[in-house]
Symmetry: C2
C-alpha cells in the first residue's frame, strides 16, 4: 500500500530499508537491494562492532590456522558505507520492533542513546545465539562461547595470554569438534563432555562412533553420555567442570552446546515463529507481516527431503536467503526452495559430512528405509595418500529414493557430500546414483566413487 502511494509522488520521499543484523543474511540482502535499487536508503543496525565476518572461521583463528582476524571480515562497515552507500551502523542494538508504526527502537551502545528509526521494509537478520545453560558457577570467568567475531577475539586472547594447560569443551557438535581441534593445535590438553553417547549427533550413532574414535586417536579425552551440571571456580575463574559422573579440572571452558534462533525481538512484536522458535517466513522470506522479512539463522527454512519446516544455522543458507530477501525487497520475485541439510567439518585429519535425513529423523517421520555402509578409499588403493573413507547411504524402502548420506574419512572424503546433496535435490533413486557419470582417475578416486559403491550395496536392499 505504502509503496503504491509513494509511487504517485516518486521524487519526494526515498524508500528506506532497515536491516537488523550486519552479517551474512543482512549484508547479502543489503548488497542485493543496493544493486537493484540504487535510490533506496539502506540502514543496517549491527549490535557488534563488525559486519560480514566469517563466523565459521572463528575456530581457525583460535587454532592459529588464521592469524589475522581482519581476514575473517569480508567487508567492513566503512566499505559498506563508502563503497556501497549502505549506512552500516555497528554498535547499534535494536530493542523493539513497532510493526504498526513501521519503526524500530535502537540503542547506540557507545553512548546508550536511544532513538526510533522508521522503515518501509524491515529485514530481521539477527542470527542465532549460543545455547548457554543456567548452571551453578556458569558466570565464572574463563567460560567462553564461540559465535560472534568478538567472542572469538576474546577466547583467542584468553588462550594466548593465560596459556591454559587443560581445557574442557562442552558439546560434541560442529563448534565443539572444531574448538577441540583448535585447542589441540595450541598445545592444550582437551577433554570433551557430551550428553549423547556419540559426538556429532547430526550423523547416525554408528557414524558418530567413527568420529569419536578419530578424536580419541588425536588425543581428545571424551566423556560421552555425561551431563553438564555445574562449573567450579577459584577467585572467580573457572577451574573445573562438573558432570553427573565426575569433576574435570579445567583452566578454560569452551561451550559448544548448539545455537537457537535469535527471534525474541520478532516474537515480542507478535511475528509468528515456527520450527525451533525460528521466525516463520514464506519462501519469498516474508514474515506474516507484509513489509517485514526474515533471513538467515534467525529464520525457519524448509527441508526438501522431509518436506517439513526446518531450522538450520549455516552461513551458506544465510547468504542464499539474504540474496533472495534482497531481490524481493527490491521488488523482484525470487523464492528459496529450501535445503537438504548439508553440512561439513573436519577435526584434525578426519573429515565429516552429512546431508538429508538420518535414521532417527526417518523413524520419526514414519518412513520405511534401508541403509548401507561401506568402507573405501579416497583414491585408487595403490595411489599414495589414499585415505580411508566410510560412506553411509539411506534410501526409502521400495522406491529406492535416496534420503540421506553421511561421510567420515581422510583428506578428500567429505566434499563428496555435494554429489549426494545434488542427488537429493534431484530426487534420484539409488539405481540412478549407480549410473551417475562421476569422475575417476587414480589420484582422485577408486574406479567406482565411494558414494556409488554405497549405492551399489544399498540397491540390493531396496
Amino acid at each position: 500500500m505504502k509503496e503504491r502511494e509513494r509511487e504517485e509522488v516518486p521524487v519526494m520521499i526515498k524508500e528506506r530499508l532497515v536491516v537488523i543484523g550486519g552479517d551474512a543474511a543482512g549484508m547479502s540482502a543489503a548488497s542485493k537491494v543496493r544493486r537493484e535499487r540504487p535510490e533506496m536508503e539502506i540502514v543496517v543496525f549491527e549490535r557488534s562492532p563488525h559486519t560480514s565476518y566469517s563466523a565459521c572461521g572463528l575456530t581457525y583463528y583460535l587454532g592459529k590456522v588464521v592469524d589475522d582476524p581482519d581476514k575473517l571480515v569480508s567487508r567492513s562497515p566503512e566499505v559498506f558505507r563508502e563503497k556501497y552507500g549502505i549506512d552500516a551502523r555497528t554498535c547499534h542494538e535494536v530493542l523493539e520492533i513497532d510493526k504498526d508504526g513501521s519503526r524500530v527502537r535502537v540503542r547506540d551502545l557507545r553512548d546508550d542513546r536511544e532513538f526510533w528509526e522508521s522503515y518501509d521494509h524491515l529485514l530481521i537478520a539477527t542470527g542465532a545465539l549460543p545455547v548457554c545453560p543456567d548452571l551453578p558457577g556458569g558466570d565464572s570467568a574463563g567460560i567462553y562461547g564461540l559465535s560472534t567475531l568478538e567472542s572469538g577475539l576474546v577466547l583467542r586472547r584468553a588462550v594466548d595470554e593465560r596459556k591454559p594447560k587443560r581445557a574442557v569443551v562442552v558439546g560434541g557438535g560442529y563448534i565443539g569438534l572444531e574448538a577441540a581441534e583448535a585447542l589441540l593445535m595450541r598445545g592444550v590438553e582437551v577433554s570433551l563432555v557430551q550428553r549423547d553417547p556419540q559426538v556429532m549427533t547430526s550423523l547416525d550413532p554408528d557414524m558418530g562412533a567413527l568420529i569419536s574414535e578419530a578424536m580419541r586417536e588425536e588425543g581428545v579425552t571424551l566423556y560421552l553420555g555425561e551431563k553438564l551440571e555445574a562449573f567450579e571456580s577459584s577467585e572467580g575463574w573457572v577451574d573445573a567442570v562438573v558432570t553427573d559422573r565426575r569433576t574435570l579440572p579445567a583452566d578454560l571452558v569452551v561451550l559448544g552446546m548448539g545455537v537457537r534462533p535469535n527471534s525474541d525481538l520478532a516474537a515480542e512484536a507478535g511475528i509468528e515463529l515456527g520450527a525451533r522458535k525460528a521466525i516463520r517466513t514464506d519462501r519469498r522470506l516474508r514474515t506474516i507481516v507484509d513489509n517485514i522479512w526474515a533471513a538467515g539463522d534467525c529464520a525457519e527454512t524448509w527441508n526438501l527431503v522431509s518436506q517439513r519446516p526446518f531450522y538450520v544455522a549455516l552461513g551458506t543458507v544465510a547468504n542464499k536467503e539474504g540474496a533472495i530477501a534482497g531481490t524481493n525487497i527490491a521488488g523482484g520475485n525470487d523464492a528459496f526452495p529450501g535445503v537438504v541439510g548439508t553440512a561439513i567439518t573436519k577435526v584434525c585429519e578426519t573429515e565429516v559430512a552429512r546431508t538429508g535425513l538420518k535414521e532417527r529423523e526417518l523413524k520419526e517421520l514414519g518412513i520405511d528405509y534401508v541403509t548401507a555402509t561401506i568402507r573405501s578409499r579416497t583414491r585408487a588403493g595403490y595411489y599414495p595418500g589414499a585415505a580411508r573413507m566410510t560412506v553411509k547411504l539411506l534410501a526409502e524402502k521400495g522406491s529406492g529414493k535416496v534420503l540421506g548420506g553421511q561421510i567420515v574419512g581422510g583428506a578428500g572424503a567429505a566434499k563428496r557430500i555435494d554429489t549426494l546433496a545434488t542427488v537429493l535435490h534431484a530426487g534420484m533413486d539409488v539405481e540412478q546414483m549407480i549410473h551417475l557419470d562421476l569422475s575417476y582417475a587414480p589420484p582422485f578416486s577408486p574406479v567406482w566413487d565411494p558414494v556409488q559403491i554405497a549405492a551399489r550395496k544399498l540397491v540390493k536392499k531396496v
Copy 2:
C-alpha cells in the same frame, strides 16, 4: 533359440559365455555372470599376460608414484580361475568371430596353436587401441605407447635403464599430460608436441590455455599447433622428432595421440559399428547379433546431454557397461542410460576436469548457449592452502539448462566436477544449481562453492 532347446534338457549341456578381452568391461561382466549364474561356463580370452589391471595407473607407475606393478592388477588370472571359476586364458588372441557358427577362432600365443571355441553368448570387450601414425621412422626403437600393462612395463624399463635426458611427448590429451608429469618426476626434460593450439582439447581452448600455462610453469616445453611429421633415429633408436616447424632432439618418445575402438574383429564379422567405428549396441549392450554383446572401450555409448551416440574410452564406463552386460547375459534386464562425458586428470599441481558438452560440440549441434567463467578458490580465502580454481559453465540460452562444465585449479578443485555431472544427469537449470545445498566450511570451500559462483554469473546471461 539355442537357449530354449537347452532348457528342455537342462542338466545335459552347460551354457557357455566367451569373453574377448580380460580387463575392466570383460572381467566385470564375467564376475557378474558368475555371481548370477554359478552353473554357467565362462571362458575369457585375453591377448596380454594380464587381467583386470588399471590402465589409468600406468603413468603413475612410470612416474614411480606407484612402484609395484602388481598393485595395478586388481585380480590375476589365477584368482579368476581358482576363486571365481572363470577360465581366464591370457596370451590367447581371438582372430575371428564366426557368428553363424557361434564360435571364435583363437590362437594361443605361447605356442601359436589355433583352435575354435564355441559359445552360447559372446561378449566383445576388446578395448581401445592407441592411435599410431604411420610416419617415416615410426618403427624406430624408443617410441612408446601407453595403453596395456605390458606397454607400461616396457616404457618404465626403458626409462629406468636408459635414463633418457630428453623426452618428447606427442599429444596433449590425458595420456600426454600424465606421461609428461611422470617423466618430469623422473628428472627427464620434457617437450610436448600438440597439433592443436592448446593442450586438452576435451576442454574449450580458453580453459586449455590455463593448462598449457600450468605445464610451462612446471617446466614442460610446449610446441603447440605443430604437426608430427617423422622420427629420426641413429642405430635404430629414435633420436629426434620432426614436426612441420622444427626438429626436436629426443632420447625417448611417448605417443599419446588418442585411442580408437578395437572393433576390427567385430567389423570383420559383419557386426554394425557406430560413432567413431565403435561397436553399436542397444542400451542393454547387445550388438545387432542376438547372442553377441559388446561393452567398454570397443563399444559405442550414448551421450545424455547431446542425446546422440558417443564414443569414450574410460575405465568407469567400461566397468559399468561390463556389469550391465553381465546382468543381461545372465538373463536379467538392466540398461545403461549413457554418460554425460565426465573426465578428470592432473598434471603436477594442476587438476583438470570436464563434463557435458564444450563450445565446439554445442556449435556443431546448433544449440544456442551462454557461458560464464569465474576464478575462485578451493577453500575460504583466508584458510591456508586455498588454491586457485577456474570454473567455466555452459548453459542453454533461454531455458538455462546446464550443458557442461570445466574446471582447472589446484588441489581439491577438480573433484567438484561430480556435482556438475549430477546436475547434468538431473537436467537441472542454472537457477536450480544456485539453490543447491552444497557443503561449506572454511577448509573445504568459499561460502558459495565455486561451481555455484559460476552459476550465479551465468544466470544473468541466460
